[in-house]
Amino acid sequence: MILDQVIFLITAVVVLTAAILVVSVPKMIHAALWLILALAGIAVLFVLLQAPFFAVVQVIVYIGAIAVLVIFAVMLTRKAMQDDGPQLNRYSVLAAAVSLMLFAVLTGMLLSWDGANNLPVNPAVNPDTIVNLGESLTNPQGFLLPFEVASILLLAALVGAIYIGREHRAGKEEE
């Protein structure tokens, strides 16, 4: 049990440090690399929460696809923003203040709730959770509709991204 806590604390420190570096390092490509570290740490948290499926999905979707996409985009737009120029806009001090206040308010609210500290954790997660999840996603009484809507959303995003991202050459008629 105490081992869990040690792992959690180490992971939390890594995730938070990486996240702070994501929003503060001047070089965009480094920000993307730190984001990968933060996402990997969050995958570890999912394992601690006994949701191995989501840990694996986190690695596939966020690290394998989204982070790679971001790195591609950063490299394609590298010339636009010199890395030595100012990376933060003039509201940065205000933004820091706002987010610190937000953190204080959120934490205060969460800790004033009784359940946050003495909610008993359920002893073990049913190993069939994945089966249940799959069945409820394809069950009309369950979450079939949201699941289909999500797939339509993905399809629309796919088509939209290709259309927007495609190069429309000057002088060439739209196909």
């Binding site: 959690f8 995730v15 938070l16 969050i42 971001v70 923003m81 933004a95 969460l110 409820s136 991204a161």
Partner: protein, 102 residues
């Protein structure tokens, strides 16, 4: 064992870091990274609440799947828009793309 509050405080901190990134970074892609942090914090929260309060049902997990789907769609379209903007205006600083401002 890990109290629920630890997860909640961690995800609150992640949200705030993400908000800071979204407000203060000039580079549009960096703003997107901030949004990613926020969405991940949401996922931590959803799964933590699922684990501590509703482990019998799968509702929390379904919500997490939806968030991941939305995040993937958002990144794909967002990056496509930034690259299109970059092609047309040679910049991806968010404050330079203000043509619609009255």
């Amino acid at each position: 064992m890990i109290p629920l509050s630890w997860y909640l405080v961690l995800s609150a901190a992640l949200v705030c870091i993400g908000v800071f990134g979204v407000i203060s970074r000039r580079n549009a892609i960096a703003m997107l990274l901030g949004v990613e942090l926020i969405l991940n914090a949401v996922n931590i929260n959803l799964l933590a609440f699922w684990r501590y309060m509703d482990v019998i049902h799968v509702t929390g997990q379904v919500f997490t799947i939806m968030v991941i789907t939305a995040a993937a769609a958002e990144v794909a379209v967002g990056l496509a828009i930034f690259i299109a903007v970059y092609r047309n205006k040679r910049t991806i600083a968010a404050e330079d793309v203000a043509d619609l401002k009255g």
